[in-house]
C-alpha cells in the first residue's frame, strides 16, 4: 500500500500501479494512478469533503462514481485554462493537473459561506419569489449575482481547438455495457455500419467493477473478446470519452467527443452530428439516494458507487459501512463491497419482505440485517459517525459507521429516449419510469429498458419522509432542496410537477436532477395522494451532460463567427486613411482621417461645394429579365413599373404583405424586358431571396429569371457640383450634359479601353450625382483614374457617415432606420403614389385597412432644435405632458449636426406629424427636454434644382 494513498487496496482494480500521477487539489499535492478519476484518487487519499452546496454552502463529499454526480464539481486546469464545474467522478487524474473546489471561501474545509447554513430557516422554497419583491428585484440583484451560481468562467482566451464533424451510420449504440456491446456485436456481424459511443474513458460499463458470467464465460474474458472482435471489424467504430448529449428529429444524435481533450500539444474537442438509421440506447440506469436526516453528510454515498470505487479503482471508501436500501440492487452492491474488503456492519432495509436468500447471504458474512426498519438520521458534522434508525419493532437503534452506502432504487437513464419522443410508464413494482412506447428506429436495451437483473426479487419500496425530524432530509443535493421544501410547496399548492420544479428549483441545477427528479416526483405523489405515474415526469432537454460552448460553436468564433465582407477596393480605401466600421456584414469606410467629427464635416462640405467620391459597391443589384419582368416588378413595387421607358430610372418602395415598408431603392429599365433592381446595401441577399420566393411560389407562371449580381459590380458614386466634369474626363463615356443625360437616366457601354460600364444618374445626397458601375476586379483602378482625372486633392473620398448626414439634410429616408416594423408608405409621405396605382401590388390590400389610414399614426417629419448649439441623438423621444408624467408621441430616427446648415436637424416619426408643421414640441433625451420645431423633412434644396443641374 502506497503510504500516500492510505485507502487504496493492495491489489485489484483497473489502475496502472506501475506508474503514478501527481496532481493538486485545493493547493495540496496528491498521488494517484493512471486509470483513476479525480474522485477515486482523492478517496484513495482519504479526502472526504470535495465541495460545497450551492445555496447553503454545506460541506459535501462525493456521492456517485459517474456523470450523475451533484457534489464533487471542480474547477480544473490541465494545461488549457481553468474549466469550471468538471465532475471529479469522470475527470481522469492527469499528471500535473490542478483542481479547485468550487463555491467556497477561503477553502472547502473552512467556508465562511457556511454561516448561510445556520440561517437556513430564512431560505425556504420559493425564497427568491418571496423575499426580493420590495422595493424591487434590482435592489438585491447585485448581491445575489455575486453569491449565486456554480463555478466561475475561465479568464482569457480559450486555448482549446473545437471542430464539428458530420457522419452517418446504420446503427448507433449509446453505451458500452454488456447490453450495448452485445447489440454492437450483433449489428457488426451482420455487416452493418456501427458506431459505439461511450462516455467513460473505458468500454464495459458495469462490467468494469461488477463482474458476472456472460455466455458461460467470466465477464472479463467476454469483454476482452468482444472488444477485440469489434476492433477487428472495419464496419465498426468505437468512440470512448464521448457523450451522446442530445437526440433530435430523424435520428440525429449530437456527441461531445473529448477523446483528444487531454493532449499535451493542446486539447481538441469535437462535436459530432451523427445521423443513424437505427439507434440502440444502452444507457444503463442511475441509482437514486435514500431519504433520511442529514443524508448529505460527506461519507454518504450511493451503494453502487461504493461498489465501483472498490471494484474498479481498488479504493475502500470507508472502514465500517452501514447500508440503507429499499431494493435488491442495493443488497447486491453491499454484499459485493463487503466481499471486496470494505466491511459492511449493517443493512437497514425499509422493506419488511426481503428475500430469504439475501438475508442469509448477509448473515453468513456477519452483517446485521434490519428489514422493515426506517432510517432516521446520520450522525456527524463534517463526516459520518453513525446511523440512527427505527427497527421494525419501532425501537430506535444506532450503528457506528464511517460510511453510509445507500440505494433508493435504479431509474433507467432515459433522457435521450424522451428526447427522441419515447413515452415512459411508471412501474409500480420497480418504482421507476421505464420505456413504454419506443419511437420508430430506436431500441432500448439492458438496464435502460428497466431490466436490472433482479426481476425475480422483491419489489422496491419508494422513499418516504422520515417521521422523526432530526436533521434536514435532502432531495436535491446540488440545489439544496429538502423534503420540507417540497412539503411547503405542496401546502402552497404547487402540485404540478412543472410548477414544483420551478418553485423549489429542484432538478434545475447542472446535474439536471439525475439523482433528484425521481425523489421529487415520488414525494409529490405521496403528498398529493397520487401515483408517480399520475404526477408525470418532466423531459430533460439536451444536453445530457454539460457541453462546452466552444464545442457547440465549433470554429465559428473570432474572425469566423461572422466573416466580414470586404470591398474589392478595401486596400485602396485604407491607403486613403479610411476608418472602417461594420455596416451589416460589410466593412466600409466610416470616414477618412483621424478626427471623426471634423472628417465628416469636411466630407459633407466637399460634396456640397465641389465633388465627393463614395464607394457604393455593396448597393444591391438584382437583374430581372424576361417577357414578364415588368409585370412581375409591378406586383413587387408600390410604384408604377409598366410606364417606365427603357434607359430610365425610377425610385420605388417595396412592402411586405402586411403593408410595411421593407426596402427602397431605384429600379432601372435597361431594355423592354430587362430590369436592374437596386436594394439597400444590407438587404441585397434578403431581397433577392424574397423575389425568388414570390416568383417560385406565387407568380410561377410569369416568364423571367432573377440574378443577384451585387458582388459582380463595383460602384463609384461621384456627387457634387463638379461631379460631371470629373467623370466626363473618362475617355469613351457618353455625353453627360444634362440635356442628353438628365437626372434619373441609365446608360451602359464600354470605355475607350474596353472596360464595360453601367452608369445611372441618381442622387442620395441631393447634389448632381452619378453612380458608375464597373466589374469588381477593376474597382481600385477606376478609383485611381477618377482621382487622377480630378487633379490632386480635388476628388474627396467620403465615408458612410458623411453620406448619412447628406441624406438626412435632404430628408431621404433610410429604410430600417427611419422606418420600423410598423411603418407603411403612407406614414413616410407616399400616400399619393399608393393611391395613384390602380393595380394590385404586394401589401396594397393592407393599406386599405382603417388602421393603416388613421391620421394620428406616427408620420415622418423633420425637426430642428430651437437651441442652435444643442444636439440630440437618434432614439430620443417626442414627449407631451409635464406634471402627470411624460407620454411618448414618437421618436427621433435620424439626427445630425448639419455642417451645411450649422445647426442640429433631424427626422423622426411623430403622431399625426403631417398636420403639425410649425408646431413646437419637446424632445426628451437623458433627462433633458429640448424644445424643437416640426418642419418639412427636406432641409436642403427642396425644389431639387441642384440634383437636376
Amino acid at each position: 500500500m502506497s503510504p500516500s494513498q492510505p485507502l487504496r487496496k493492495a491489489q485489484g482494480g483497473r489502475i496502472d500501479r506501475t506508474r503514478t500521477v501527481a496532481f493538486r487539489f485545493d493547493g495540496r499535492r496528491y498521488l494517484g494512478h493512471p486509470g483513476d478519476t479525480l474522485a477515486s484518487a482523492l478517496l484513495a487519499n482519504g479526502v472526504k469533503v470535495m465541495g460545497r452546496s450551492m445555496k447553503l454552502h454545506r460541506p459535501r463529499g462525493v456521492l456517485s462514481a459517474g456523470v450523475e454526480e451533484p457534489n464533487a464539481l471542480f474547477s480544473v486546469d490541465w494545461g488549457s485554462g481553468k474549466i469550471p464545474s468538471i465532475r471529479a467522478t469522470v475527470m481522469p487524474a492527469l499528471d500535473g493537473l490542478v483542481a479547485q473546489s468550487q463555491n467556497c471561501f477561503p477553502s472547502v474545509n473552512f467556508d465562511l459561506g457556511r454561516a448561510l447554513d445556520f440561517t437556513h430557516r430564512l431560505w425556504p422554497a420559493g425564497f427568491y419569489y418571496k423575499m426580493f419583491k420590495w422595493p424591487s428585484w434590482r435592489a438585491f440583484e447585485w448581491a445575489v449575482r455575486r453569491t449565486a451560481g456554480i463555478g466561475r468562467l475561465p479568464d482569457g482566451t480559450d486555448r482549446t481547438r473545437y471542430r464539428h464533424l458530420n457522419s452517418h451510420c446504420d446503427v448507433l449504440v449509446v453505451g458500452s455495457g454488456p447490453s450495448g456491446l452485445a447489440a454492437a456485436l450483433e449489428a457488426g456481424r451482420r455487416g452493418e455500419d456501427v458506431l459505439v459511443v461511450e462516455q467513460d474513458v473505458a468500454f464495459g460499463g458495469s462490467l468494469l467493477h461488477d463482474p458476472m458470467a456472460i455466455d458461460g464465460a467470466a465477464s472479463d474474458d467476454w469483454l476482452e473478446a468482444a472488444l477485440a472482435e469489434l476492433d477487428g471489424m472495419d464496419n465498426v467504430r468505437l468512440m470512448a470519452n464521448a457523450t451522446a448529449a442530445g437526440c433530435y428529429d430523424h435520428n440525429l444524435v449530437t456527441i461531445h467527443d473529448r477523446s483528444a481533450a487531454y493532449r499535451s500539444d493542446g486539447p481538441v474537442e469535437t462535436f459530432h452530428k451523427v445521423r443513424a438509421r437505427r439507434i440502440v440506447l444502452a444507457t444503463g440506469a442511475t441509482e437514486q439516494p435514500m431519504l433520511f436526516g442529514n443524508n448529505d453528510l460527506p461519507g454518504i454515498m450511493l451503494a453502487g458507487a461504493v461498489h465501483a470505487y472498490v471494484g474498479r479503482y481498488a479504493v475502500n471508501c470507508g472502514q465500517r459501512v452501514a447500508g440503507v436500501v429499499n431494493n435488491d440492487a442495493g443488497w447486491h452492491s453491499l454484499l459485493a463491497v463487503h466481499d471486496a474488503g470494505t466491511a459492511v456492519r449493517a443493512i437497514v432495509d425499509t422493506r419488511g419482505d426481503v428475500e430469504r436468500e439475501l438475508l442469509d447471504a448477509a448473515e453468513e458474512r456477519g452483517i446485521a440485517v434490519h428489514p422493515g426498519a426506517t432510517p432516521l438520521t446520520a450522525r456527524g458534522s463534517s463526516g459520518v459517525r453513525g446511523l440512527r434508525f427505527a427497527a421494525a419493532n419501532e425501537t430506535t437503534k444506532q450503528v457506528d459507521c464511517d460510511l453510509i452506502a445507500m440505494s433508493g432504487g435504479l431509474n433507467p437513464t432515459t433522457q435521450l429516449y424522451s428526447q427522441a419522443g419515447g413515452k415512459l410508464r411508471y412501474d409500480e413494482r420497480r418504482h421507476c419510469f421505464v420505456p413504454d412506447k419506443d419511437p420508430a428506429d430506436l431500441d432500448v436495451v439492458g438496464a435502460a429498458s428497466g431490466s436490472f437483473g433482479w426481476e425475480n426479487g422483491s419489489s422496491v419500496r419508494p422513499c418516504t419522509v422520515a417521521p422523526v425530524r432530526t436533521g434536514r432530509q435532502w432531495v436535491d443535493f446540488q440545489h439544496d432542496v429538502t423534503a420540507a421544501d417540497i412539503e411547503l410547496a405542496v401546502r402552497e399548492n404547487y402540485v404540478s410537477v412543472e410548477h414544483m420544479k420551478r418553485y423549489t428549483t429542484a432538478g434545475m441545477a447542472v446535474d439536471q436532477g439525475k439523482t433528484s427528479n425521481l425523489g421529487v416526483l415520488s414525494l409529490l405523489a405521496q403528498l398529493t395522494g397520487r401515483s408517480p405515474g399520475e404526477v408525470g415526469t418532466t423531459t430533460a432537454r439536451p444536453q445530457f451532460m454539460p457541453v462546452t460552448m466552444g464545442a457547440i460553436a465549433g470554429n465559428r468564433r473570432g474572425d469566423f463567427y461572422r466573416p466580414a465582407k470586404r470591398l474589392a477596393a478595401h486596400d485602396w480605401h485604407a491607403g486613403e486613411g479610411a476608418v472602417f466600421d461594420d455596416y451589416g456584414a460589410w466593412k466600409r469606410p466610416a470616414f477618412y482621417g483621424d478626427d471623426r467629427d471634423a472628417s465628416i464635416a469636411r466630407e459633407v462640405l466637399a460634396v456640397r461645394q465641389s465633388v465627393g467620391f463614395f464607394d457604393g459597391s455593396p448597393l444591391g443589384k438584382i437583374e430581372v429579365k424576361g417577357p414578364d419582368a415588368a409585370r412581375f416588378l409591378d406586383r413587387i413595387y408600390v410604384n408604377n413599373v409598366l410606364t417606365l421607358k427603357p434607359g430610365r430610372v425610377r425610385y420605388g418602395l417595396m412592402l411586405n404583405e402586411n403593408g410595411v415598408v421593407i426596402d427602397d431603392g431605384v429600379f432601372v429599365r435597361q431594355d423592354e424586358d430587362h430590369f436592374l433592381v437596386n436594394t439597400t446595401s444590407g438587404n441585397a441577399e434578403r431581397i433577392a431571396a424574397w423575389l425568388e420566393e414570390w416568383h417560385q411560389c406565387e407568380f410561377f407562371d410569369m416568364r423571367l429569371v432573377l440574378s443577384n449580381v451585387t458582388s459582380q459590380w463595383a460602384v463609384a458614386t461621384l456627387a457634387g457640383p463638379d461631379a460631371r466634369a470629373v467623370l466626363q474626363s473618362l475617355p469613351g463615356l457618353i455625353d453627360l450634359s444634362t440635356a442628353s443625360f438628365p437626372h434619373l437616366r441609365f446608360a451602359a457601354g464600354h470605355l475607350a479601353d474596353g472596360m464595360p460600364y453601367r452608369l445611372q444618374r441618381v442622387s442620395f445626397s441631393g447634389e448632381q450625382s452619378y453612380e458608375l458601375s464597373v466589374p469588381s476586379n477593376r474597382a481600385a483602378s477606376i478609383f485611381e483614374r477618377l482621382q487622377a482625372a480630378a487633379g490632386p486633392g480635388k476628388l474627396v473620398p467620403i465615408g458612410v457617415e458623411a453620406l448619412m448626414v447628406l441624406r438626412t439634410e435632404k430628408g431621404f429616408v433610410h429604410v430600417g432606420v427611419d422606418t420600423d416594423g410598423t411603418t407603411n408608405p403612407l406614414d413616410i409621405g407616399f400616400g399619393a403614389v399608393v393611391d395613384r396605382k390602380q393595380r394590385d401590388f404586394i401589401g396594397a390590400r393592407s393599406l386599405a385597412r382603417p388602421n393603416d389610414r388613421r391620421t394620428d399614426r406616427r408620420q415622418l417629419v423633420g425637426f430642428e432644435l430651437l437651441d442652435r448649439n444643442a444636439s440630440v441623438p437618434a432614439g430620443a423621444h417626442f414627449v407631451t405632458g409635464s406634471n402627470g408624467g411624460r407620454r411618448s408621441e414618437g421618436f427621433v430616427t435620424s439626427a445630425c449636426d448639419s455642417p451645411t446648415l450649422g445647426r442640429t436637424i433631424g427626422i423622426g416619426l411623430i403622431e399625426g406629424g403631417f398636420g403639425r408643421k410649425g408646431e413646437e414640441v419637446l424632445v426628451y433625451d437623458s433627462g433633458r427636454n429640448l424644445p424643437a420645431r416640426i418642419v418639412d423633412p427636406c432641409f436642403y434644396d427642396p425644389s431639387g434644382e441642384r440634383m437636376r443641374a
Partner: protein
C-alpha cells in the same frame, strides 16, 4: 433536425434548407373584406398531424417546393412542386393523421 427529400437534389439535411411556413391559401382579390384579408395574412392551421408547408433548398438548388409532414412524428409523407396540387397521402395507419387539406 430533419432529413428533407428535395425533389430536385434528393435527401439532404435540414441545415441546407430555409423554412417558408405553412402553405397559405391563394392570394385574395383586392376587394376582399378586412377579416378575410387578416385571416389570409395571419391565420394558420398549426395542426397536430399533417401539415403542408414550404421549404426552399437555399444552400442547394435554390428551389422552393412543398412538403407534407406529420408534426407529431416528423415523418415526411410527400413532397410536391410549388403550385402543384398536394398529393393524396394515406396515413390511415398512423394515429395522428388529422388536419390535412
Amino acid at each position: 433536425m430533419l432529413r428533407i427529400p428535395c425533389p430536385y437534389c434528393g435527401e439532404r439535411d435540414e441545415a441546407e434548407f430555409r423554412y417558408g411556413g405553412e402553405v397559405p391559401g391563394s392570394i385574395p382579390q383586392t376587394d376582399v373584406g378586412d377579416q378575410a384579408w387578416a385571416d389570409y395574412l395571419f391565420a394558420r392551421d398549426n395542426p397536430k398531424g399533417l401539415v403542408h408547408e414550404r421549404w426552399c433548398h437555399s444552400h442547394g438548388c435554390g428551389q422552393w417546393f412543398n412538403v407534407v409532414r406529420d408534426t407529431v412524428t416528423h415523418r415526411i409523407h410527400a413532397v410536391y412542386g410549388a403550385g402543384e396540387a398536394p398529393p393524396v397521402v394515406d396515413c390511415s395507419n398512423e394515429s395522428q393523421a388529422d388536419g390535412g387539406r
